[in-house]
């Protein structure tokens, strides 16, 4: 009888549990699952401005794979993602290690170092775009310090535009990695550092043999999250360079947006989006397989 009551309670609890998660599932269906499948559906069609469409099979995919701009966008996306992720991790880790030390004003400095994260992406992009202007703060400061002797066109030179955007995005994005690693550093037992000091370990040895192993798991999580976010970044690039100059910073997210909403080619844009999804899925699977060991 006791087990019957328990079973009844368990079923009732299950219903209650489903009741609570149902709104989330419903929202996910509306804003994620349905649009994803609708996008796949559109990718096989030629869609007009009034959204009438006809089935064209794999034509959109064939065109995308033949389009040099799509390949350029893929290349730019990889360059941006890998560079931005590496810098986020390096800068984030460096600042986290620094802020993990004990010193006066540490709490205030932690808040200040978090401030780029609070600023919206549009505001950050506008600030950096202004700073990179030939007559902006960057050039005026560097000319004043004697580092350069003329106005540098940061955003209108093909080989400088991408690094310029990456630097801007590193400033915006490092706090996310910093906060994850800082939390992870708090969990490293102090007694291990004390033992290492007694054994005569150097700072680098302490970092290599104590700190790194403890934060490795969170480091990999931060890296995965950074890769996912950076791969699909849109706003900052739209504001700072809008894919220019001459497509030097044109990434997939911008290219899909342009095909959909500027060129009114919804079906073609949907096909590129599906290709982007497949690549990012592949990356995610590869990453989890390699680093799950």
């Amino acid at each position: 009888m006791y087990s019957k009551v328990l079973n009844k309670l368990k079923t009732k609890n299950e219903y209650i549990a489903y009741f609570f998660i149902f709104p989330t599932i419903f929202v996910l269906l509306i804003i994620f699952i349905f649009p994803m499948f609708y996008n796949i559906y559109l990718s096989f069609r030629s869609v007009m401005a009034d959204f009438s469409s006809r089935f064209i099979g794999l034509e959109n995919y064939k065109e995308a794979l033949r389009d040099p701009l799509v390949w350029l966008a893929f290349k730019n996306t990889f360059v941006f993602t890998l560079s931005a992720t590496a810098l986020h991790l390096l800068v984030g880790l460096g600042i986290a290690l620094f802020l993990h030390q004990s010193f006066k004003g540490r709490k205030t400095l932690r808040m200040i170092m978090l401030s780029p994260w609070i600023v919206s992406m549009v505001v950050a992009g506008s600030i950096w775009r202004w700073m990179y202007d030939p007559f902006g703060l960057m050039n005026e400061t560097l000319i004043g310090l004697g580092v350069i002797d003329n106005y540098y066109p940061w955003l209108s030179t093909a080989h400088l535009a991408m690094p310029a955007v990456i630097v801007a995005y590193t400033w915006k994005g490092y706090p996310f990695v910093m906060i994850i690693l800082l939390a992870s550093l708090q969990a490293v037992p102090e007694v291990e550092y004390e033992a290492a000091v007694v054994d005569g370990a150097s700072t680098f040895q302490k970092f290599r043999y104590i700190t790194l192993p403890h934060i490795k798991f969170m480091f990999l999580i931060a890296a995965l999250l950074a890769i996912i976010t950076n791969f699909k970044l849109f706003t900052l690039l739209r504001i700072v360079t809008d894919g220019g100059p001459a497509n030097a910073t044109e990434v997939l997210s911008l290219h899909i947006y342009r095909q959909s909403f500027e060129f009114i080619r919804y079906g073609y844009a949907a096909a590129i989006a599906v290709l982007m999804f497949l690549v990012s899925l592949g990356l995610g699977i590869f990453y989890t397989k390699v680093f799950s060991r």
């Binding site: 401005a49 959204f51 030939p134 106005y151 066109p153 093909a158 220019g244 060129f263």
Partner: protein
């Protein structure tokens, strides 16, 4: 039981309240017709204030019509209109430039029957023919012109005097223009850095392409063939015009650093800050110049674009179209007619200096010989504009990329144009 009956009464009251509110809302909606009006000039001043005042007056005259204003950014109009059309929530009235008519046409009302009802040719004759032509696609008129956007050369007369150039004699030919820009590119404060340039060249986006177009036509070249099926901008005359324009930056250095990514607001600011001596802008820019730098009053002039083989000026009509999804097309038509009538056109020009589309509105002194804006009227016979094709967005982007690549010297002008022609021909043959 008493408790149950009390609960039932409370629920009944709540239900009645909901039904009556909903019913009242429906009744109000049934009485009033709401027109949503999408217009990129609503968010700009002083245009926005003029239009809002006109809208208020219209609503006073038509108490059954409620206007809902929807200001959007200039470069977002086509995107917003087409996506809202696709979603079935298009605005009733939208302000469109001529190059946006073709891509939007599937969602617009054919205005021919409406124009016929107003008297056909008699109605159309009130407007400059070019205005109605600009806003047509495939022989169908889709919008009534509100104003023209015409670009001419603005120049700083003080800088001219300082460079020993006569302010009353602005450059008339390409060679003169090049000579002037070189003389006007100087290191004013003698610190070893050039801080004043002869010309503000817009390298980025469609704004740059708009300002390059008259130079192309002045050399008897054009973007596309007559039948709009292939690119012709890379033919010899087109290449010559392109090279001349690009070399202002790459060879002669008479434009500021950052030119490849300089957009219209940047170059306008450079002119207002007196960093550049000349730039190409529209009639409406006069008010913005004085707002940004009141000291420029009386210190700048307006002249035609320098000529190579023939006169040309960039200009196209901007007008109001009605969405095919509008629930109230008759009311929308009344509002469009109202906005573009002579009285409102005259006031619109007086307060904003956008060139009016109605002939009768040209009787104002500023547009007559000797008037400040007469030059804009003089060039109407020579106006050139972008081709009206559905694929204009893609073609424009391809040309802008070629322009940027040539300015950055990542491609020679020849290669940039040939590569662009190859892509444009592929787009047009789809």
């Amino acid at each position: 039981m008493i408790e149950k009956s009390r609960k039932t009464r409370i629920w009944l009251v709540v239900l009645m309240f909901i039904i009556s509110t909903f019913g009242y809302g429906m009744a109000v909606r049934a009485e009033q017709k709401t027109l949503r009006w999408m217009d990129y000039t609503l968010g700009e001043e002083p245009v926005g204030s003029v239009l809002r005042a006109q809208a208020e007056k219209f609503m006073e005259q038509h108490p059954d019509i409620q206007l809902k204003l929807d200001p959007v950014r200039y470069d977002a109009v086509l995107t917003k209109f087409t996506t809202q059309t696709a979603a079935g929530v298009a605005p009733d009235i939208v302000l469109l430039t001529s190059e946006n008519i073709a891509p939007s046409s599937a969602g617009l009302v054919n205005l021919e029957p409406w124009i016929d009802k107003e008297g056909g040719d008699k109605f159309a004759e009130m407007y400059w023919e070019k205005g109605l032509q600009d806003l047509s696609y495939d022989g169908t008129r889709y919008a009534i012109p509100e104003h023209f956007v015409i670009h001419l050369l603005f120049y700083n007369t003080t800088m001219f005097k300082d460079a020993a150039l006569e302010p009353g004699k602005p450059p008339k030919t390409w060679q003169e223009f090049l000579t002037y820009t070189k003389k006007l590119t100087v290191d004013v404060d003698k610190d070893g850095l050039t801080d004043q340039w002869g010309y503000g060249l817009i390298g980025k986006g469609v704004g740059g392409l708009q300002r390059f177009l008259p130079w192309l036509h002045s050399n008897r070249a054009s973007l596309l063939s007559e039948d709009k099926t292939r690119a012709v901008f890379n033919e010899p005359n087109g290449l010559e015009a392109f090279k001349f324009h690009v070399e202002l930056f790459t060879k002669h250095h008479v434009t500021p650093p950052g030119t490849p990514t300089a957009d219209y607001p940047t170059v306008l600011a450079q002119f207002c800050q007196e960093r550049v001596s000349m730039f190409i802008g529209g009639s409406y820019v006069s008010d913005i110049i004085l707002e940004q730098n009141p000291e420029l009053e009386g210190r700048y002039g307006i002249c035609e674009i320098p000529v190579k083989e023939q006169k040309a000026a960039m200009g196209r009509a901007v007008g109001y179209a009605i969405s095919s999804q509008s629930d109230y097309p008759e009311e929308a038509w009344e509002f469009v007619k109202y906005l573009t009538n002579t009285e409102n056109q005259e006031e619109y020009f007086k307060r904003t200096h956008f060139i009016p589309a109605q002939k009768a509105a040209f009787d104002t002194p500023e547009l007559q010989p000797g008037g400040t804006f007469y030059a804009f009227q003089e060039v109407i016979p020579y106006l050139v504009k972008f081709p009206v094709i559905e694929e204009w967005g893609e073609v424009a982007k391809t040309l802008c990329d070629a322009y940027e690549a040539a300015l950055m010297e990542s491609k020679t002008p020849r290669k940039a144009l040939d590569d662009a022609a190859h892509v444009v021909n592929r787009i047009l043959s789809r």
